[in-house]
C-alpha cells in the first residue's frame, strides 16, 4: 500500500546551515501524524520544505504517487497540501470572511469544505465575519487560519505550532475541531511543542531533534521517558 504523502531523505539548508538531514516520513490517507520537538529542531523547516516555501537540497516529496519536490508553493497547494503557517499569518487588509474566501482562491470544483461548513465548525468566524482578520483574539485568528486552509479542500492539512502563544483553554477549543476535520477525510500533520496535545490528537508521533527524526511510534507505544529523552536529547546510556 502506498502512502498519501511520502517524504524520503529530505534535506534542506539555510545558506550554509543545514536544517534537515535526510528526513523520512509517511502519512496514510485519513491519518493524523504529530511532529514534536524543541525550538530549532527543524519542524517548521520540514513544513516549509514540503509546501514549497523553503528550498529542498536533496530528497523527495511525493503526494499520491506524484513527485512534488521541486514545485513552487502555489502548485503544491493546488495539488492538495494546505498549510496553517506558524504565527497564523492572516492578511491584515482582509476581513475574517475574505481571509477564509482567499483560501479557496485556487480551488477547482466542489469539496466538503465550504464557507458555511467552516463557519459552522467555528461559529465565531461567522459572527465576526466583517471584522479585519487581525482584530480578532489569538485563538480566533488561529481558527481563521485553519478555516482558510480548509477552504482549499486539501488532502493533507499541515498545522504549524497551533498552540504557540495561546492559553490552554483556547488550545483545547481549537483541537476540539480536529475530529470533524478528520471525518472530512483530510489527513493531518500537526507540528507541536505541546507534547500532551500532540499525543492526544495523533495516530502516530515523530520526535525531531537537530534536523533528524529521533523517535517514532504510536502514542500508546511510546513511554514518557523515551519521548522525554528524544525531545531533550538526553541519554540514559
Amino acid at each position: 500500500m502506498s502512502a498519501l504523502l511520502e517524504i524520503a531523505g529530505l534535506t534542506a539548508h539555510y545558506g550554509d546551515f543545514q536544517a534537515l538531514f535526510g528526513v523520512d516520513l509517511t502519512l496514510e490517507e485519513g491519518a493524523t501524524v504529530a511532529i514534536i520537538g524543541a525550538n530549532g529542531a527543524g519542524k517548521t523547516t520540514l513544513m516549509r520544505a514540503v509546501t514549497g516555501v523553503a528550498r529542498v537540497s536533496a530528497g523527495s516529496v511525493t503526494l499520491a504517487g506524484e513527485p512534488i519536490t521541486r514545485l513552487a508553493a502555489p502548485g503544491i497547494l493546488t495539488r492538495g497540501i494546505a498549510m496553517v503557517p506558524e504565527g497564523r499569518r492572516l492578511f491584515p487588509s482582509l476581513t475574517v470572511e475574505e481571509n477564509l474566501l482567499i483560501g479557496a482562491h485556487a480551488r477547482r470544483g466542489n469539496g466538503f469544505w465550504t464557507l458555511e461548513r467552516v463557519q459552522a465548525l467555528f461559529p465565531i468566524l461567522k459572527e465576526r465575519r466583517h471584522s479585519p482578520g487581525t482584530a480578532l483574539s489569538g485563538g480566533q485568528q488561529q481558527m481563521v487560519a485553519i478555516g482558510r486552509a480548509l477552504m482549499s479542500n486539501p488532502r493533507v492539512l499541515l498545522c504549524d505550532e497551533l498552540s504557540l502563544g495561546l492559553a490552554p483553554v483556547v488550545i483545547k477549543e481549537i483541537y476540539a475541531a480536529f475530529p470533524q476535520i478528520k471525518d472530512s477525510g483530510t489527513a493531518i500533520i500537526v507540528v507541536e511543542q505541546d507534547i500532551g496535545q500532540a499525543l492526544r490528537v495523533a495516530d502516530h508521533v515523530h520526535c525531531m531533534m537537530e534536523g533528524r527524526i529521533t523517535l517514532s511510534g504510536r502514542p500508546a507505544e511510546l513511554s514518557r521517558d523515551a519521548i522525554h529523552d528524544a525531545y531533550f536529547g538526553v541519554s540514559h546510556a
Partner: protein, 287 residues
C-alpha cells in the same frame, strides 16, 4: 463669481490629474513599485490612439476602445518580462529600470513620430459647453472628471468586491502567505500593470484631446501624478482623486492671480499638504 468659476475649472482639471495618477497609485498599492515611466506610458497611449484613429479613420473615443486591450497586453508583457525580474527587497533596481524605460519610450516615440506636437481631434465636442447658471463648464473637462470618478469607483469595486481584488490585497500584504493560498504573485502583478495601463490609455485620451502632446512631456505628467498620489495617501484610490483635485484647484487659483503661477501653485499646495499631513490625506491604516 470669478472664484467659483476658477474653483470649478480647477476641480475638473483635477480629474485629469487623477486619471494620470490612478494607474500609478494602483501599481504602488499592490507591489510597492514606483513606475517612473508611467508618464511616458500615458504619452505612448496617446500616440497609439492617434495612430489607430489615423489608420482606421475612427473617432478617438472609439479608437481608445481598441487601444485599451493593446495597452493591457503591453502592461502584462512589461511586468512578466521586465519588472518582475527586478522586484524585490531592494527598491533601487525597479526605479533604475523604469527610469531607463522612460528614456527608451521617449526616444522610441521621437524616432517614430518626430518631435512635432500632435493632438487628438474629437470634433465639435471640444468646443461644447454647458451653462449651469453660476458657471459655464466645457463638456470635455466635465467628461474628463466624470471618467476619473468612474475609473476610481471601478478600481475600488475591483479592489474590495472581487476575488481578483482580494488576491491583490492579500499579495500586497504578504507574498509568501499568498503563495500558500495558491496565488502566483507574478501573475497578480502582471494583471495589475495591465489594468494600470488601461487607465493610462483613458488618461491619454483626455490628455491628447485637451492639449498638444509630443514625446518629451511624459515626465511632467508623472510629476503631477506623483503629487496626486502622495497628497491622497499612498495606496488610497479615492485619496488619489482628492490629490488630483487639490493640485488642479491650486493651479487654477494660482493662474487666476497670475498666469505664471499656475504650475508653481500646484507644487506649493503639494508641499503644504506634505508639511501638514506627511502621510497624505487618506493614509492606509496598515502601512
Amino acid at each position: 463669481m470669478m472664484l467659483i468659476d476658477t474653483l470649478a475649472q480647477g476641480l475638473l482639471l483635477g480629474g485629469l490629474y487623477a486619471l494620470f495618477a490612478a494607474g500609478l497609485s494602483l501599481v504602488f498599492g499592490i507591489m510597492r513599485l514606483v513606475n517612473l515611466a508611467h508618464g511616458d506610458l500615458i504619452i505612448l497611449g496617446a500616440y497609439l490612439i492617434l495612430t489607430l484613429a489615423t489608420v482606421t479613420g475612427l473617432h478617438p473615443f472609439v479608437a481608445v476602445v481598441l487601444a485599451a486591450p493593446l495597452m493591457f497586453g503591453l502592461g502584462w508583457l512589461l511586468q512578466t518580462h521586465l519588472l518582475n525580474r527586478v522586484l524585490g527587497e531592494d527598491i533601487l533596481p525597479p526605479l533604475l529600470v523604469t527610469f531607463g524605460l522612460s528614456v527608451v519610450i521617449q526616444n522610441g516615440l521621437l524616432s517614430a513620430f518626430t518631435a512635432d506636437s500632435r493632438k487628438l481631434t474629437a470634433g465639435p465636442i471640444e468646443a461644447a459647453s454647458v451653462d449651469l447658471g453660476i458657471v459655464t463648464l466645457g463638456v470635455m473637462p466635465v467628461l474628463t472628471f466624470a471618467s476619473a470618478v468612474a475609473v476610481v469607483f471601478a478600481l475600488n469595486r475591483l479592489f474590495y468586491r472581487t476575488a481578483l481584488g482580494r488576491a491583490f490585497r492579500a499579495t500586497s500584504d504578504d507574498q509568501t502567505t499568498a503563495q500558500l493560498m495558491g496565488i502566483e504573485p507574478k501573475r497578480i502583478f502582471a494583471m495589475a500593470t495591465g489594468i494600470a495601463l488601461v487607465v493610462a490609455t483613458i488618461a491619454a485620451l483626455f490628455l491628447g484631446t485637451r492639449a498638444n502632446f509630443d514625446p518629451s512631456i511624459g515626465p511632467a505628467r508623472l510629476l503631477y501624478a506623483f503629487e496626486a498620489v502622495i497628497i491622497g495617501g499612498l495606496g488610497s484610490l479615492w485619496g488619489t482623486l482628492a490629490g488630483g483635485i487639490v493640485i488642479g484647484m491650486a493651479q487654477a487659483v494660482g493662474a487666476s492671480i497670475n498666469p505664471e503661477w499656475q504650475i508653481l501653485s500646484g507644487h506649493i499646495a503639494f508641499v503644504i499638504v506634505l508639511l501638514l499631513k506627511p502621510r497624505g490625506l487618506f493614509p492606509r491604516a496598515n502601512d
